[in-house]
């Protein structure tokens, strides 16, 4: 009953979104407000239908309706309710259903919010989003039907993939990532609309920037949560392996980040417009490519749990989206001519330009490495994979350069920087960087990568601190406010600028944490009989006993657990286990992670001997890992601060760029000019 309802909802959803696409086109061409209103309502209806289908799936999962093939493959009667619910996105067909729901959620939100604004653009935005919905519903009607039935109905399902039911993070990481992925279809839709209507001006840039940053926040948090999941679940002591699916999430993040920066130049200076448009298109295409790579079986990774016939569909969608939008971009190229001057060598816009080149450099490196196995297979049938040394060797220096620009860019004025400004702004930071380096070497650090990172962090941190102090001090003097109040007022009146600083600060925290944790971790592998101890980096780990018993929540799962006591910088007890799931040939690690601000103690069970009770464990002491997650949270908060509506909304039309460009940006320190703008 319910599965049939879900299937019917999908069929109607396809029809309704097809109608919406056609009505948006006809209504847009004929300026027919009534037709456009019905198109919008059709999209809301499609959202409702996707919601019904998702609800039907979740309820069927909770009631273990094994007549549905998806549920028989991904659920069992013993699966706990929480993992039954999140099985909605545990495998391919359910993921696409969930994906459709989120895409239509974003689409409805945007169409509702701008129902009376941007009237020239919105029909084409609606058309683009409706076409995305048509594609997703079609996938669910033909190659990836989530409600397809099996007969005879099995009495028991095979249960969710063991890896995916081992940690509550599976309830968090995929939805965040999918919210990011699906939200990025909004800027794409605005890009297409702007190209079609030849309104590629500051109006669309402003809207698109905001609607890129919102999904970007989710994508960023989703990537960080994925790294955290990998760290807590996979048991190898690390968090990033340049696995194809990690790369697939990173690629659109890189191009979206590049766009967020380039759009500021386009908005302020009228240059880099074609470039920005190309980035919006690339970001959207990369989100589809990610799905294609990881879900079609062409590249295997830890996440490619299911393979199906959707590959050709997604490949077709990539070709259509990329070919269509590039053709449109080329056709409209004359409209996108730069109005402004080309940037001068030492200026904020040239820093942005190099930032973009470097972000695209990382994108190229990652894309090239991810596609290499495909290229080899297509040309000679050789099966290869690309090792992490390739990615790290190339990306670490590029990220170092990006970190440097992160300090330089915001401190340089728009237009051109005089030698005096450069000297004033960067003398102290360079001294600070040198100080940090000397201190780090004195403390015994010798590896170049973390030294470089720390030095750069000292530089960037000082630039930002100096910038904040300058701004706060001058406002405090002019307005007679307390310094903290002045800083808060300054920040809330220039949300973009100061939110951006917070994001950069989060990146800085993450960069330091990654550099330290990936080079200064210590590990050992020991075999301990009950009562024996091992030591590592100040910790003493004592093996108390080995327990083998069925898991309390799911009796079909056998847990082999080493119970241990540890003492040192942190102390207490821990249990590290291997879980045997009936549907998995390999046991799933359940590492014990004891987190402190300074370092994590990470213990993973490798093997055990039930006769003697002895266990072999790998022990890691990973410094600073928790700061990666903290840095990610700071980054998300900063971006949310930057786009938070500030109440005293300036009219949708920005002040003419000419007027802005006229300000003597070169000689007035930026925060002061920002204060004047804000007051």
């Amino acid at each position: 009953m319910l599965p049939s309802l879900g299937h019917v909802a999908i069929l109607i959803g396809l029809a309704v979104s097809l109608y919406a696409a056609v009505a948006f086109v006809l209504g847009g061409r004929g300026r027919d407000a009534v037709l456009l209103a019905t198109a919008r309502q059709a999209m809301y209806a499609a959202f409702g239908l996707a919601f019904i289908a998702c609800a039907a799936m979740v309820i069927s999962l909770l009631t273990h309706d094994f007549s549905v093939a998806y549920i028989a493959r991904n659920n069992a009667t013993t699966t706990p309710p929480f993992y039954s619910i999140i099985s909605l996105w545990a495998a391919l067909e359910g993921s696409i259903l969930f994906w459709t729901l989120l895409t239509l959620g974003w689409a409805s939100l945007v169409l509702y919010r701008y129902r009376a604004r941007h009237t020239a653009l919105m029909p084409w935005v609606g058309m683009s989003l409706a076409l995305v919905a048509v594609f997703l519903f079609s996938v669910m009607v033909w190659p990836g039907n989530p409600f397809s039935r099996i007969t005879p109905v099995p009495l028991e399902g095979s249960g969710p993939n063991a890896l995916l039911q081992n940690h509550p993070f599976m309830g968090l990481h995929p939805p965040l990532l999918y919210l990011g992925y699906t939200g990025l279809s909004v800027p794409f839709a605005f890009g297409i609309a702007a190209l079609l209507t030849r309104r590629t001006d500051e109006e669309w840039l402003g809207v698109v920037r905001r609607w890129t940053i919102i999904p970007w926040i989710f994508l960023s948090l989703g990537i960080v949560a994925g790294a955290w999941w990998s760290y807590e679940v996979l048991g190898w002591g690390g968090y990033w392996a340049w696995d194809p699916v990690e790369n697939a999430a990173l690629l659109p993040w890189l191009t979206a980040t590049a766009f967020i920066h380039s759009s500021m130049v386009a908005e302020r200076r009228g240059t880099l417009k074609v470039w920005s448009m190309a980035l919006v298109i690339a970001t959207f295409v990369l989100t589809i490519l990610g799905t294609f790579l990881t879900r079609s079986g062409v590249v295997q990774s830890v996440h490619s749990f299911t393979q199906s016939a959707i590959g050709p569909w997604f490949l077709g969608a990539i070709v259509l989206a990329l070919g269509g939008s590039l053709a449109l971009l080329l056709w409209r190229l004359p409209d996108l001519g730069d109005r402004g001057d080309p940037p001068r060598a030492v200026s904020r816009e040239s820093a942005f330009l190099f930032n973009n080149v470097l972000f695209l450099g990382v994108t190229f490196v990652v894309l090239f490495g991810t596609l290499m196995p495909l290229i080899f297979q297509a040309t000679g049938g050789q099966r290869i994979s690309v090792g992490t040394p390739y990615y790290n060797g190339l990306n670490v220096p590029i990220f170092g350069a990006l970190l440097f620009l992160m300090g330089v860019g915001p401190a340089l004025p728009w237009g051109t920087a005089s030698w005096r400004t450069v000297r004033e702004r960067f003398t102290l930071p360079i001294v600070a960087a040198a100080g940090v380096l000397v201190a780090a070497v004195a403390l015994g650090m010798r590896q170049p990568a973390p030294l470089l990172t720390l030095g750069l962090a000292g530089f960037v941190g000082t630039v930002m601190g100096d910038e904040l102090l300058r701004g706060a001090r001058s406002r405090a003097r002019v307005r007679g406010e307390a310094p903290a109040t002045a800083l808060w007022h300054l920040a809330t009146r220039n949300r973009r600028r100061y939110g951006g600083y917070v994001v950069h600060f989060g990146v800085l925290v993450m960069a330091i944490a990654v550099a330290i944790s990936s080079t200064m971790a210590r590990q050992t592998t020991v075999t301990l009989r009950p009562g024996q101890s091992a030591t590592l980096a100040g910790y003493t780990l004592t093996h108390d006993r080995l327990v083998i018993e069925p898991l309390a929540e799911d009796a079909r799962v056998t847990e082999t657990r080493a119970e241990m006591t540890f003492a040192g910088p942190q102390s207490g007890t821990l249990a590290t286990a291997l879980r045997d799931y009936p549907n998995s040939t390999a046991a799933i690690a359940t590492p014990a992670v004891r987190t402190a601000l300074g370092e994590d103690l990470y213990v993973t069970l490798l093997s055990s001997d039930p006769k003697t009770g002895s266990v072999t464990v790998r022990v890691f002491v990973n410094p600073m890992v928790v700061w990666i997650w903290i840095g990610g949270a700071i980054l998300g908060l900063g971006a949310a601060f930057a786009i938070w509506p500030d109440g005293r909304r300036i009219p949708a039309v920005l002040p003419a760029p000419e007027a802005r460009r006229a300000e003597p940006a070169a000689s007035v320190p930026a925060p002061v000019s920002a204060t004047m703008e804000g007051s």
């Binding site: 993939n161 996979l234 295997q300 190099f354 080149v357 099966r383 690309v386 990936s518 040939t585 093997s607």
Partner: protein, 151 residues
């Protein structure tokens, strides 16, 4: 307060080409290093039969070998592991001083990364277990499994 020396801007056109040149140089450097370094980072994925067919040419090359752990072949002590990896045609003895990150067991699929030594033993720096409910001995199309990088 001293006046900054007047900045003499390059003509717009020259500035444009200068920047395009700088951007092109950065892109070329990244591209050059990407193309030149990827060759040494490629890891070939082979089945035991394919590895055997390569003969002496395979010695010392980074290789990932996938197959089934032959029943009864595992010799394990605290610091060493020896077992036979098979695709049911060819058997290759694998030696490793690294223990697998998750438990691995006889009859299940495993992937080892390392190199073939001239004595015919595959020296593995990593032993990975394939996390897949539908694992079959590798037979055609896929590069397997998750890679856990070594520190």
């Amino acid at each position: 307060m001293t006046l900054a020396p007047p900045v003499v801007p390059l003509p717009s056109r020259g500035r444009r080409w200068g920047l395009i040149g700088a951007v092109a140089v950065v892109a070329a450097v990244i591209g050059y290093f990407a193309f030149s370094s990827i060759g040494s980072a490629l890891v070939y994925y082979l089945t035991p039969t394919e590895l055997h067919a390569r003969g002496a040419a395979a010695y010392g090359k980074p290789i990932r070998l996938g197959g089934l752990v032959e029943a009864g072949s595992v010799r394990n002590d605290a610091s060493e592991l020896t077992f036979v990896l098979t695709d049911e045609t060819t058997r290759i003895t694998v030696h490793s001083s690294e223990l697998p990150t998750s438990s691995f067991r006889e009859g299940a699929g495993a992937v080892v990364e390392g190199e073939l030594r001239p004595n015919g033993v595959f020296e593995a720096s990593q032993v990975l277990v394939k996390h897949d409910e539908n694992y079959v001995a590798p037979s055609g199309s896929a590069v397997p499994s998750h890679v856990a990088p070594t520190y």
